[in-house]
């Protein structure tokens, strides 16, 4: 059973349909990609899945359980975590405290773990390699560092499904490489990962399943090879004039 399902989700902003009957799912142990040109509705779909945006139609299921109307914190407690395209760090706290808060919140509602908050924070710091800047305030970090902190913060809640909104933008080549390795490791451990990314080669390399959004509609889905050869995708996205996509 998929960890996360969006079924025929539609979102309207005024007279503009930002999403129209979008259906997609995230499987455990795999990295799923979501791509599409700017303004396609990717972030909006993330917001619907995490409960920050109510859809006008459609449902969101976690492990087969309907969570459509439930608030963000309940979904998180069921095992969902995300990062934000526009960083949402706790700017007045240090990087370390950003993770600490998340671990403490997790402890507050139980979550069935016996690992102390500090230990979990430490292991996430090691995993992500954020040791050099753990004691800096979050609002003075570089974008690349901040993205790592957001990832670490999501990870300390030990999510079953992790949604990443453009996690590699702002990272340099080495950081991106390392980032990919971490994600693969997490997926191997059974986590379901959904990634929105403009770095198409990265997506192609990491993902086993890719969904393509354009103007609020799902125009294609399938394994990387199929997407690469899909005519509609090429028109909408990959074949667009120089600069976009790659």
């Amino acid at each position: 059973m998929p960890l996360l399902d969006a079924k025929e989700v539609s979102v309207r902003f005024g007279g503009h349909m930002a999403l129209l009957d979008v259906t997609m799912s995230v499987e455990p142990g795999r990295i799923t990609g979501l791509i599409g040109p700017n303004g396609a509705g990717k972030t909006t779909l993330f917001n619907v899945m995490t409960g920050l945006q109510d859809p006008v139609r459609g449902r969101v299921l976690m492990n087969g359980i309907d969570v459509t109307g439930s608030p963000p914190h309940e979904r998180s407690q069921r095992g969902m975590a995300r990062t934000f395209q526009r960083l949402e760090l706790f700017g007045s706290l240090t990087a370390y405290e950003n993770l600490q808060v998340a671990a403490e919140i997790k402890r507050m509602w139980g979550g069935g773990t016996s690992v102390p908050a500090d230990e979990r924070v430490e292991s996430a710091i090691e995993l992500i390699g954020m040791r050099p800047f753990v004691h800096k305030r979050a609002d003075v970090l570089t974008t690349g560092q901040a993205r790592l902190v957001e990832l670490g913060r999501a990870l300390v809640t030990r999510p079953k499904v992790l949604l990443l909104d453009e996690p590699a933008s702002g990272l340099d080549a080495d950081e991106t490489e390392y980032f990919g390795t971490i994600l693969k490791g997490l997926a191997k451990a059974g986590m379901g990962i959904l990634i929105v990314e403009h770095d198409v080669p990265l997506v192609m390399k990491l993902c086993s399943q890719i969904f393509v959004l354009d103007f609020g509609q799902m125009i294609a889905s399938g394994p990387p090879a199929a997407i690469q050869g899909n005519q509609r995708v090429i028109e909408a996205y990959l074949g667009a004039p120089a600069g976009s996509g790659a």
Binding site: Q85, L87, E88, L93, E104, R137
Partner: protein, 712 residues
């Protein structure tokens, strides 16, 4: 249900009775006229809110200024009505609006919503304090009705020309606003400005100009409402201001953005108020004799309506607003420094209390008690980013609890804490699901309710002043003023240590995180409503305790000390001192108390025809307002500002980092304008189809890349 059924069944019979019917119609006409005034006032609020994104707490005060100016021209100088109206509505009020926008509001980009709200509250306070300096502080002002003495009879009910004119004006305003906002270039630009300043600039609009226009318009509407409502009553500054404040409830029905729903809100509010006042005045047999029905109903209705509407408003969508690199940054408190500070405070107070004169001792003790009340804002506002305008009202409930149950034992203070906390739950619960502005409104409404409905109940409070017995702990009497002063310093110190520990612990971190990014907190599993409720209860409990202690200073609980208006300087001075720091509360409390002292100690000398005593009394009365307005420049408050200044001096003399390595916390932070971002738009409402099309035409590009192109 049966009760309602019975009423429904007897309704035809009631209406058949001719005199009953005309009475009913009379109340209806009264209600409709009131609705017209509420609508005009509320529409002004909606206009400024939708176009500048700023809820103008000073709206009522602008209306009050308008009414007083009208009184000045028409009554005092005997000018004819029409030219006076035109001058006020087309010249004076718009100028005041533009002045406010230019001088006060424009400097507020890159500051938090808390600071912006506080500045507008400071403006409210300043206007309330300025008006009596111009017009005196009598409460016997009266303006004539339009076409006084003329009325027509409609269905057996006399309707004055003034009432007809009021209704006609409201209809005119509704039509005008509809036309302006939806059919003119200026209106469309106004509605676009709020959504994204940088973006509308890209489109060739001039946001500064449209923003000024909307403030001018809002200000005129406030003045118009003020003038219309002034005719109904013998007025004074505060009464008039709060009459217009009733319209806030109507605006909340429209969720501060919809004129149509605001209109519905105004009608419901006014009719309920009118029928309630009318019918309850008629047969009060079943009501307690001592209940002041008219006053109670007219005050309670808007407050209750506001709270009910807040309960009904659907939960605000959390917005991912992006990391805020605001100008507001206060370093973490350090427990060792806190202990040293608290220790020295107690020592200094102990010393000073010995040498101080009796009157001064009372003043500074009040300052310490005020500082304790302000401490209640540190976790709530400083850490959690929530605004309360009712801390002094909670303090008042605490003071009365101590007066009622405190016989020297701690029971009184315990009751103060419990009652204030319970009241806190009641006020906060409806508003906490929503954004911060609604909590500020709910608490303001509650403060007004406490002053006008709770305190005047002679059943509960037979007299406005109640004697208070100070605490008598284990035979240790605090009856001596010196002992009490030291005791207050000790309580302040203990609370400070507690709050600092809280800040350094998990709860404090959560509060800080919630302030920085509610959206991220929610997606990490934090129940925001519960967290806000917890901190609000803590805060109102501290305020209740502070109120009990404050009453102990003068050994009396006096309702005047806890009026709705008293909440404003408490918030303003706490924020001015630095609301994220306990030391800021201390500075705020002492300053506020010293304003009273300062005025008293000035000798009376004539300088250039101005009496120095009057001048300084006025200045001190105005001070919290002026200081609050100045906050836009230094939102971190006095304490943080001074320590930064001292540090800069130190660095200049000994070289930066003379005593330690470079502190990354202290790198200068830029007042960043928010980055242009599609996700950031629609801050206040969703776009319509053509707006989205227009915007997409401009920014269907990744802004990051666009900027990279721009910089070769």
């Amino acid at each position: 249900m049966t009760g309602l059924g019975a009423v429904m069944a007897s309704l035809p019979a009631l209406l058949a009775d001719q005199s009953r019917l005309s009475e009913f119609l009379g109340f209806t006409v009264f209600g409709i006229v009131l609705a017209a005034i509420y609508f005009i006032a509320a529409s002004g609020l909606v206009v400024t809110y939708t176009t500048s994104g700023m809820f103008n707490f000073a709206h009522g005060a602008v209306g009050m200024i308008g009414a007083f100016t009208y009184w000045q021209l028409v009554v005092s100088w005997g000018w004819p009505v029409v030219p006076s109206l035109l001058i006020i509505l087309l010249v004076i009020a718009p100028l005041l609006g533009v002045f406010i926008e230019r001088v006060v509001m424009r400097g507020l980009q890159g500051v938090s919503e808390v600071t912006r709200t506080v500045v507008s509250i400071a403006l409210l306070f300043s206007l309330i304090r300025v008006a009596p300096m111009i017009w005196g502080s009598k409460n016997t002002y009266k303006v004539p009705a339009f076409f006084a003495g003329n009325s027509v009879e409609i269905a057996g009910v006399g309707v004055t020309y003034h009432q007809l004119v009021t209704i006609a004006i409201a209809i005119g305003v509704a039509v005008f606003l509809r036309w302006l906002l939806f059919l003119t270039r200026l209106g469309v630009a106004m509605r676009a400005v709020v959504d994204s300043r940088p973006l509308s600039r890209l489109n060739g609009a001039r946001p500064e100009r449209t923003s000024a226009a909307s403030w001018a318009l809002g200000s005129s509407l406030a003045a118009l409402a003020g003038i219309l409502v002034a005719e109904r009553i013998v007025f004074d500054v505060v009464a008039l201001t709060f009459l217009v404040v009733n319209a806030y409830a109507a605006a909340v029905v429209g969720r501060l953005t919809s004129l149509t729903r605001t209109f519905v809100g105004a009608v419901v509010l006014a009719l309920v108020q009118s029928y309630g006042q009318g019918y309850l005045q008629e047969n009060p047999a079943w009501l307690p004799k001592d209940l002041d029905v008219v006053n109670t109903v007219s005050t309670a209705v808007p407050v209750v309506l506001l709270l009910v509407v807040l309960l009904l408003i659907p939960q605000a969508r959390l917005r991912a607003a992006g990391i805020q690199r605001s100008r507001e940054a206060v370093p973490h408190p350090k427990i060792r420094l806190t202990l040293i500070g608290v220790g020295s405070l107690v020592a200094v107070v102990a010393l000073v209390s010995l040498v101080m004169g009796g009157d001064d001792r009372i003043t500074w003790s009040k300052g310490l008690a005020l500082a304790i009340i302000m401490l209640s804002l540190v976790p709530l506002t400083g850490y959690g980013g929530q605004i309360s305008l009712a801390q002094m009202s909670f303090a008042g409930l605490g003071a009365y609890a101590v007066a009622t149950w405190g016989d020297g034992s701690p029971v009184g203070l315990l009751a103060a804490v419990v009652i204030a906390a319970a009241a806190g739950v009641l006020v906060a619960l409806p508003a906490l699901r929503l954004s911060g502005i609604y909590l500020a409104l709910a608490t303001l409404a509650f403060a007004y309710f406490v002053e006008k409905v709770v305190f005047p109940q002679r059943l509960l409070f037979p007299t406005a002043t109640k004697p208070v017995k100070r605490l008598n702990l284990f035979g240790l009497s605090l009856d001596d003023d010196r002992a009490y002063m030291v005791f207050l310093a000790v309580v302040f110190g203990l609370l400070t240590v507690g709050i600092v520990l809280l800040r350094l612990g998990p709860f404090g971190r959560r509060l800080q995180a919630m302030k920085d990014s509610p959206a991220a907190c929610a997606t990490l599993g934090l129940n925001l409503t519960r967290t806000k409720l917890q901190v609000f209860v803590l805060s109102s409990a501290i305020a209740g305790l502070g109120g009990g202690l404050y009453a102990g200073v003068g050994k009396a609980a006096n309702t005047i000390d806890y009026s709705a208006l008293q909440n404003l300087p408490v918030l303003l001075m706490a924020v001015a001192g630095g609301v994220a720091l306990c030391s800021g509360a201390l500075v705020g409390g002492l300053l506020l108390a010293s304003f009273g002292l300062g005025a008293k100690s000035i000798p009376s000398i004539e300088v250039l025809g101005v009496d120095s005593k009057t001048f300084f009394t006025n200045l001190f009365a105005l001070a919290p307002g002026l200081i609050g307005i100045a906050l836009g420049r230094n939102p971190n408050g006095i304490v943080a500002g001074m320590s930064e200044w001292a540090r800069a001096k130190y660095d200049a003399r000994f070289g930066a980092g003379a005593d330690d390595e470079v502190d990354l916390d202290r790198l200068p932070r830029l007042p960043l304008e928010p980055v242009l971002d599609v996700e950031h738009m629609g801050l206040f409402r969703a776009f319509s189809a053509d707006e989205v099309a227009a915007i997409d035409a401009v920014v269907r590009v990744d802004v990051g890349k666009e900027m990279a192109h721009a910089a070769p």
